[in-house]
């Protein structure tokens, strides 16, 4: 826990320095988090060139917006990863492209549900979030995690989970609200 705290303190210090245009701090920040950021973008996009573009865009944004970071926006690392995640989703949607389609696509999703997704879930984030995700139904949890990690649209989820789009939408919406009630407890 203290490791995590001290890392967040360090990242916070770097962000403050970057807000004063400290390029050395910026390069240190890149060295500290670019691996995690690229890992996240790559997982989301499944395309290296797209993930590379997103990381570049995110760091340019971080340089310009470091001064806008504040506590309410979560831990510094989450804030920066969120920037990269939104950017990845934007580029994905602009390109409207997917690396795989049809049956191959479905197969990959099915694999994810059995393996890496569960693994991600086990090691992901705070115990609080994990505990609350565990309280959701399996379909709610899967649709939320597939949206988060894979950036699936409602259409793609509907195809991947072989369920009508209205059903998928309601899994997500109800799942998120149940998650919030749990997190607020």
């Amino acid at each position: 826990m203290s490791d995590i705290d001290s890392e967040q303190d360090e990242l916070m210090g770097l962000l403050m320095a970057i807000a004063h245009e400290d390029r050395q701090a910026f390069q240190r920040l890149y060295q500290r988090i670019s691996g995690r950021m690229f890992g996240l973008c790559l997982k989301l996009a499944s395309q290296r060139d797209l993930a590379e573009e997103a990381v570049q865009d995110a760091f340019v944004q971080i340089w310009h917006n470091a001064g806008e970071y504040h506590n309410e926006r979560g831990a510094p690392l989450s804030w920066m990863l969120t920037i990269a995640r939104y950017r990845t989703l934007d580029i994905m949607r602009n390109r409207k492209s997917r690396p795989t389609s049809g049956d191959a696509h479905l197969e990959r999703v099915a694999d994810e549900r059995e393996g890496p997704l569960d693994e991600s879930l086990r090691i992901a984030g705070s115990a609080e979030l994990r505990g609350c995700l565990d309280e959701l139904s399996e379909t709610q949890r899967d649709s939320i995690l597939l949206s988060y990690y894979r950036g699936f649209t409602h259409d793609e989820l509907s195809e991947a989970l072989s369920s009508p789009i209205g059903t998928v939408k309601s899994w997500i919406r109800r799942g998120l609200m149940a998650l919030k009630r749990c997190l607020e407890r």
């Binding site: 050395q24 390069q27 979560g74 998650l179």
Partner: protein, 235 residues
């Protein structure tokens, strides 16, 4: 669309999750700009769901990503403006770490004169990369103007530790080090120097070797410890 608390709550969650897109996403972004309350709702989810993103397996981006960031933020530091520009801003930070590492290293850095010039060849640089507790030099270095090649011949050098590579750098008198690539294990490493590299090396006559992730530095600048610094002699 009416901004009821229930609707805001639901849309904020979907916005952060990414399942809200197209016109609905843009409309919600406008709502965010107009209301602190809505932004706070979004931040709640960014903070909570952010935990999902922090434990994903790391993957180092290629060096071109950092180079691209620098190019976009500080285009004047790029290439042509070169050494001077780099030394004014981003470049300066690098030097303290070089000098500290070079002097504090447990390795004693020394240079010995090893080769005699071939007759009639000007500006022939030569030297060796040595280590105090190893009798033989680790690598012999020679540069000849004729074929514009720098040669690094391993003598007592051993492979880098598992998951690491040695990377060779020209350390210019001013500005950022210039990578000459990853040194392969066991073979003589030959690298052809372009005009810029030859000029930098001719002025500073200084090479360095750093320990980097496999495939070389992900940033285009040394990221690992500087293991050796060697000054070449002009023969």
């Amino acid at each position: 669309m009416k901004r009821t608390p229930e609707r805001i709550e639901a849309l904020a969650a979907e916005y952060v999750l990414g399942s809200l897109h197209g016109a609905a996403r843009r409309r919600f972004e406008r709502w965010m700009m107009e209301s602190v309350r809505i932004r706070q709702e979004v931040w709640f989810w960014e903070e909570k769901l952010g935990h999902l993103g922090t434990r994903i397996e790391e993957e180092q981006p290629p060096a071109s990503v950092w180079a691209g960031i620098e190019r976009r933020l500080w285009p004047q530091v790029d290439k042509a403006g070169g050494a001077e520009a780099a030394n004014e801003g981003a470049g300066r930070w690098f030097w303290p770490s070089w000098s500290i590492l070079a002097t504090a290293a447990a390795l004693v850095l020394a240079v010995v004169l090893l080769q005699h010039p071939e007759p009639g060849v000007d500006d022939h640089l030569s030297g060796a990369i040595v280590q105090a507790d190893v009798t033989d030099p680790l690598w012999l270095v020679s540069q000849s103007v004729l074929d514009r090649q720098l040669k690094l011949r391993p003598v007592a050098a051993t492979a880098a530790q598992q998951g690491k590579d040695y990377e060779l750098w020209i350390v210019p008198e001013d500005g950022q080090p210039l990578s000459l690539g990853v040194i392969p294990v066991g073979d003589t490493y030959r690298v052809t120097l372009d005009d810029e590299a030859r000029k930098l090396l001719s002025n500073s006559r200084t090479l360095a070797i750093s320990l980097e992730p496999v495939g070389g530095s992900p940033t285009g600048q040394p990221t690992g410890p500087i293991l050796h610094v060697a000054k070449l002699y002009r023969l």
